[in-house]
């Protein structure tokens, strides 16, 4: 899968394409097509946010009036607040874990040669296209056999495993663009392997590591298929929302949704700023 490798490069590179003069009609045609696709992408999100301000309990159009009541309700919802806390705990731990395992894995894939490397690569990258349900149930059976009680910690292990592929592909793509001469020079100048890693390699792949970390955090925060099978009594935020949805739809869910949209927007802006290569950095 070259998918994640190519996307980060695609965001950054910008090439100009020369064109022939176009007719007015084709221009209109393009505008309508692109506008329709953007509407398909954003009308549902707008609807989600808009309904969170609805005075009525039902989610029917037209809205009856505007209110902030649903947000006030959220502030007093202890289960929800606990779920948010759980999600922060799970996402933080699994992101740290997946970086601690994923960065060395990417280094090993790029810089080392060892027997079984092909199999190792396949295994590590598998979850990127593998339905989460397979990771979820296979780990559920393992934990059951070993006699682990399901908890937020088993969820963390599951997330770290499922997200490993994301970190490895992003960091690996950056490592491939990093000339080996840097590390060789560092070693020639007498630096130890650890010194080279922390003072030469890591600063050069920093933006990829931060980007991969942010992405894993978001994905873990939002994860359902693995969490569904591995969680015990404690709920993460998506699992809490899922269980409320099955009880009935209220604008309260939309209010949570609107807050998540706002939070995601902040993260996106943050990641675009952080991922942007500084001039001079490779």
């Amino acid at each position: 899968m070259t998918l994640l490798e190519t996307t980060s490069a695609a965001v950054i590179s910008t090439q100009s394409v020369s064109r022939k003069p176009r007719r007015w009609g084709t221009r209109l045609g393009w505008s309508v097509t692109i506008g329709a696709i953007l509407a398909f992408l954003y009308v549902p999100i707008a609807v989600l946010v808009l309904f969170s301000f609805n005075t009525s309990r039902s989610l029917s159009w037209p809205m009856e009036g505007l209110t902030l009541d649903w947000y006030r309700k959220l502030a007093g919802n202890e289960q929800l607040i606990e779920a948010v806390g759980n999600s922060f705990y799970v996402a933080t731990c699994s992101t740290i874990l997946t970086l601690v395992i994923g960065v060395p894995a990417a280094l090993a894939l790029d810089r080392l040669s060892f027997s079984g490397k092909g199999a190792f690569r396949k295994l590590v990258l598998l979850p990127i296209a593998l339905p989460g349900i397979i990771t979820g149930i296979s780990m559920l059976i393992l934990f059951r056999m070993v006699g682990f009680t399901l908890s937020l910690e088993t969820v963390i292990i599951g997330h770290a495993t499922a997200l490993l592929a994301v970190v490895v592909t992003q960091v690996y793509a950056r490592l491939q663009r990093l000339p080996r001469s840097y590390e060789e020079a560092s070693a020639d100048l007498g630096a130890s392997g650890l010194q080279t890693f922390f003072f030469v390699t890591l600063p050069n792949i920093r933006s990829a590591v931060i980007g991969a970390g942010l992405l894993s955090f978001t994905l873990s925060f939002d994860e359902i298929p693995v969490t569904f099978f591995l969680t015990g009594r404690d709920n993460t935020l998506p699992m809490y929302i899922w269980s409320t949805m099955r009880r009935g739809l209220t604008p309260e869910i939309n209010a949570v949704g609107a807050l998540i949209v706002a939070f995601s927007a902040v993260l996106i802006v943050l990641s675009v700023i952080l991922m942007r290569d500084k001039p001079g950095a490779r």
Partner: protein
């Protein structure tokens, strides 16, 4: 190189490699292996007993309900990929070849990728509120006079699922197609025009063939992701909308037949791996032909 240096290099290699290796063996290889073993077990109260029998697989391949669900899942995943392609290709094409300003191009690209950061569950949920009897679509159609009373035909069927899954997974189609189109040298397209080919002929003979690796990667990704989904079917799918992942999840829940669930999961795994391998082959073939 002295023996000491070699030894230290070995040690370093070992230290770099062992955490990820240990983790992948313990939490990926072992669970997958257990899944295989478990699929030959027999369900028995309270859960399952060790055995080596093919009953679970025989049940899957002889009971038509499982084959039907598999075929339905493949059909829905295929239609989702196709619809995503039909929307994503023009969009990516426009971005690469028609947008002149790099800033606008980045913004439009991010506009497609950004929804990935918004909760998957909520993106599926919002379609439930749009397509429902009291939802936006019904109200809109009634206000324009197309419908006289709210209709329930929009929600709880396969069409609703295809729309929802397309909405959720379309970024995975746009990203690789965009990357593939961006690699095409504009001079090739100009040359085709200079040689008298029309815009459509250029598209069919130059652009699409060269974008094929991206199209195949996107198709593979959206297909596999839709194939394994079990959230959207519950939210917007109807009685005829259950997919294979729902059947698997049920075996680990109410139906309580873990061995059968494991066997079903392995069938799913083989199908998904088969598709990934085929798409990998194709990509390599394409690269060999181009170079």
């Amino acid at each position: 190189m002295t023996a000491g240096v070699v030894k230290r290099a070995r040690l370093r290699q070992f230290l770099v490699l062992s955490p990820p290796l240990l983790w992948t063996v313990l939490f990926m290889f072992v669970p997958y292996a257990i899944l295989v073993v478990y699929s030959f077990w027999r369900a028995q109260f309270p859960l399952a007993v060790p055995d080596f029998q093919f009953g679970n697989y025989i049940e899957i391949f002889t009971d038509p309900q499982y084959l039907n669900v598999l075929l339905r899942t493949a059909k829905i995943a295929g239609l989702v990929s196709l619809l995503s392609l039909l929307l994503a290709f023009p969009y990516a094409y426009f971005l690469v070849f028609k947008v002149r300003k790099p800033g606008l191009r980045l913004t439009l690209y991010m506009a497609v990728v950004a929804p990935l950061w918004v909760s998957y569950l909520l993106r599926a949920y919002t379609w439930k509120t749009i397509l429902g009897t009291e939802g936006l679509l019904n109200s809109f159609l009634m206000s324009t006079g197309i419908l006289s009373e709210p209709s329930s035909v929009f929600l709880y069927n396969q069409t609703a699922m295809i729309i929802t899954l397309t909405y959720v997974f379309i970024p995975f189609m746009v990203m690789p197609i965009y990357a593939a189109l961006e690699k095409i040298p504009p001079s090739l397209i100009e040359a085709s025009g200079d040689l008298g080919e029309g815009a459509l002929a250029t598209l069919a003979k130059i652009t699409i063939p060269l974008a094929m690796p991206g199209i195949v990667a996107g198709f593979t990704m959206t297909f596999c992701l839709s194939f394994g989904d079990f959230i959207s079917p519950i939210l917007v799918g109807g009685p005829d909308g259950l997919m294979i992942a729902n059947v698997i999840a049920a075996q680990f829940g109410a139906a309580l037949n873990w061995p059968l669930g494991s066997a079903l999961a392995l069938v799913m795994l083989v199908i998904v791996l088969g598709i990934i391998t085929a798409s990998d082959r194709f990509e390599r073939l394409g690269q060999a032909r181009l170079s």
